[in-house]
């Protein structure tokens, strides 16, 4: 019960911290407009290349876009905590770290889901992609799972990024990798073999496949396996990220350096 | 042979008349509330040619806002100001040609470029003639003591060096009027002393300088005249001597106390004949400074109030500019 409370309270509190960044003047140009147009851009590019259908790109990109807040919002949050020097105490707290971080990730996941769904809706409407209403609930479930796994990746990459000098470049790189490797715009079969292999260990790959199958008529049960795989991948990144952060915190305490964590 | 004296010109180089500046402040993220803050409320003063004029006041008093209006970065909400006869609103371009602006702090320079590149760029922007640029830059580097280090990137400079580079930048186009906004803030004592010497030499060279500061001794030692500003309004103007004389010729009682509390301070403030009380926190003790009215002898009464607290050194002295300032500012 405490873990749940910690998650909720921690999540709500961090939401206020996110507020400055959620300011419409910053939020709209970074989290609303670019996703909508990313979907359009690749759909048109797909038409130019005469590759696959509009639906292919709408599903692929809208699901991948959960990584936009997942990566950038999380790295901002963790960097922000580090700057205000609350990261180390946070990590050292006796509260269940997993619950705490999950709680703080809730707003980000919610935004990720929102971004995915909005860009899907926008893309389908503008490009005239036919979507059966019955597909929406399982699709939403798929997007929710992706929001979780991308946020988890966000935490892991932010942990690694603490050692990197320019965090923003690193986040850009990870986002780019997801865009290229995971079958979002290029079918996995048309990518070099090694990229497909790497993609299996990344979020987005399985849920994009699930999303496309759903639109092709599959049921939630059919894609269940893919969603479970995605959840497992997300969980792995979450554990990795937290372990890294905890490790840095220990090292920082031992060496009495505050600049690490 | 009598020492050379500086004769101050008769011309008013800077004239500020009833300057007002109001800011609109918005708070809150969802429910945005806005209200007006009057940062400068009717500031008037004039500076003569060759004068070193000080604007003295605590943080947030309106010093920086006043300066920004004079250098045309802000438009006054009401009132007017002229520099060398040019109106700061209507003839902004002309004012900018005649004015140099130097401010304190680490920012204000291109970090990844060398001092030389920075100066070259600003020389260009501030209209120094291409033929004269190299000579002028070299002259300034010598003046501020940065010759030999001009090829290093600014990011490696200490704060004192940055301040000197700021000064060089402000002087690049040889303006007759200089506005210095807290130029020695955060600089180490030795560096600050050198900077002050530099500033003093500027007026000897005939420039007119407006200096803002919250360092009392700086104002006292450098300025020909001082205006004390607090809460957006000038509360006193005059030479340092005049301001000190303005403090009622009582005395100042200083008592070292170990562990004074609020209640005791209140009681002392309430004593008849006490003009102002300040408590200065020093490492292990506090210094209680009590300004007393003329003709009073309050030492024993004050000490009686401190019953129970441990008392160290006690002294009585004449008021200084700092005391004048405190009295003016806390009135």
């Amino acid at each position: 019960m405490t873990a749940v409370r910690v998650a909720l309270v921690g999540g709500l509190l961090s939401f206020r911290g996110l507020f400055s960044w959620l300011h419409p003047a910053i939020f709209v140009p970074t989290m609303v407009v670019p996703p909508l147009f990313q979907v359009l851009f690749f759909a048109y590019l797909g038409r130019a290349a005469e590759l696959e259908s509009d639906s292919f790109y709408v599903v692929g990109n809208s699901i991948q876009l959960a990584a936009l807040p997942g990566l950038f919002a999380v790295s901002q949050a963790i960097n922000g905590e580090r700057k205000s020097q609350t990261l180390a105490p946070l990590l050292a707290s006796p509260a269940s770290r997993v619950a705490l971080f999950l709680g703080r990730s809730l707003p980000v996941m919610a935004i990720g889901l929102g971004v995915s769904f909005a860009s899907f809706g926008f893309g389908s409407a503008v490009l005239g992609v036919e979507v059966d209403a019955g597909v929406l609930p399982p699709l939403l479930a798929t997007m929710t799972v992706t929001a979780f796994s991308c946020t988890a990746l966000g935490i892991a990459h932010a942990a690694v990024g603490l050692r990197v000098r320019e965090m923003a470049v690193f986040s850009n790189l990870v986002f780019a990798v997801l865009l290229v490797f995971c079958g979002v715009n290029v079918p996995l079969d048309d990518l070099p073999g090694w990229m497909g292999t790497v993609a299996q260990g990344l979020p987005v790959t399985h849920t994009v496949e699930a999303g496309r199958e759903l639109l092709a008529g599959a049921s939630l049960a059919d894609v269940g396996g893919l969603l479970v795989t995605e959840l497992a991948i997300g969980a792995a990144y979450l554990v990795l990220g937290l372990a890294l952060l905890r490790y840095y915190e220990r090292v920082a305490r031992r060496r009495a350096t505050l600049d690490l964590v | 042979m009598s020492p050379p004296s500086r004769t101050l010109g008769r011309v008013n180089v800077v004239e500020a008349v009833d300057l007002h500046r109001t800011y609109r402040v918005t708070t809150g993220t969802i429910r945005r509330r806005s209200h007006d803050v009057e940062a400068v409320r009717g500031v008037s003063f004039s500076i003569r040619e060759g004068e070193l004029f000080g604007l003295l006041g605590p943080n947030g008093a309106g010093k920086t806002t006043t300066i920004k209006m004079l250098i045309t970065l802000l438009i006054p909400t009401s009132g007017s100001a002229h520099v060398l006869g040019y109106d700061v609103v209507r003839d902004a371009a002309r004012v900018r040609e005649q004015v140099g602006y130097v401010f304190g702090g680490d920012k204000g320079l291109y970090e990844r470029l060398s001092a030389l590149d920075n100066l070259r760029y600003f020389a260009e922007l501030y209209g120094v003639e291409p033929r004269r640029q190299r000579a002028r830059i070299d002259e300034l580097l010598g003046l501020v003591g940065l010759r030999g280090r001009e090829h290093e990137r600014v990011e490696g400079y200490s704060r004192g060096m940055r301040q000197r580079l700021h000064l060089a930048r402000g002087l690049i186009h040889d303006p007759p009027v200089l506005f210095l906004d807290e130029p020695t803030i955060g600089v180490d004592p030795v560096g600050a002393r050198e900077l002050r010497a530099l500033i003093a030499s500027l007026t000897k060279a005939g420039k007119t300088v407006l200096l803002t500061t919250h360092y009392m001794f700086e104002a006292d030692s450098l300025c020909d005249r001082i205006a004390v500003i607090t809460d957006g309004a000038i509360v006193a103007q005059g030479t340092p001597q005049q301001l000190k004389a303005g403090v009622e010729q009582g005395g100042v009682v200083e008592v070292e106390v170990f562990g004074i509390d609020e209640a005791q301070v209140r009681r002392i403030e309430a004593l008849p004949g006490v003009l102002a009380v300040t408590v200065e926190e020093q490492e292990l003790k506090q210094l209680l400074i009590v300004q007393t009215a003329p003709g009073t002898e309050l030492m024993h009464v004050i000490l009686a109030q401190l019953d129970g607290a441990s008392v160290g050194r006690i002294s009585q002295r004449e008021p200084t500019l700092e005391d004048a300032y405190v009295q003016l500012v806390t009135a």
Partner: protein, 258 residues
Amino acid sequence: MTRVVRVVAFGFLIHFKHLTRNPFDVMVTTIWPLVYASLAYFMFRAGSPPESLLIASIGATVMGIWSVTTVGAADAIQRQRWAGVLEVLVAAPTPFWTVLLPITIASSAIGIYSLASTLLWGRFLFGIPLELAQPIWFLVSIPPTIVSIGLLGFVMASVVVRFRAGWAVGNMFEYPVWIVTGLLIPVALLPAWAEPVSWALAPTWGMRALSDAAFSGGSPLFDIGMCVLLSAVYTLVGAVLLGRFLQSARRRATLSLT
């Protein structure tokens, strides 16, 4: 007049130097064009490729130039603010538009690094031969492309000076402009209204000039001429807007606040 040219030219050199020394800027400006070029190569190869994939390289490069310009322009004012230098620049007797203009052109000139890296990337990782039909015209087309795109950035920066939170706006204009100006996507595929819009945007003409020089025997002279014309228009519009917004900033005291 010579003074203006001097200030702009010198300002460009100084800011280009300053921006080049920021590894972050240079990295981001070179990475994303590589990503888009790679995606385009994969997609075209899997689908139906055009005559030469070099067009994807060029398109991705111009995308990069636009990207660094739009983000850099919107950011230009903010960066000067963060560096504490904005006030010094505005307080200078030189008209502010001559100060701001070279900053945005310097931003787009950073895109030159992405041109080199994207072409090399395509050549060495994807085997796309670097065969240009008219190499001289290609080189000649580069400066007008960069300058005109930089000046479009100048218009953007002039508007942004008015709004404290305007720095994020640069992000918003990346995709839409890429789509409309036909960089990787042929304009023919877009709705009819897109074409006239594209004519008013410098990247359209820059792309055409570079493509003409790279592939066809045709002369890119008209396209270069359009770049020059648009440059003049942007300069005028930007200078007027800037004057107005700067006055507003002085009144509302939004110049130095970070």
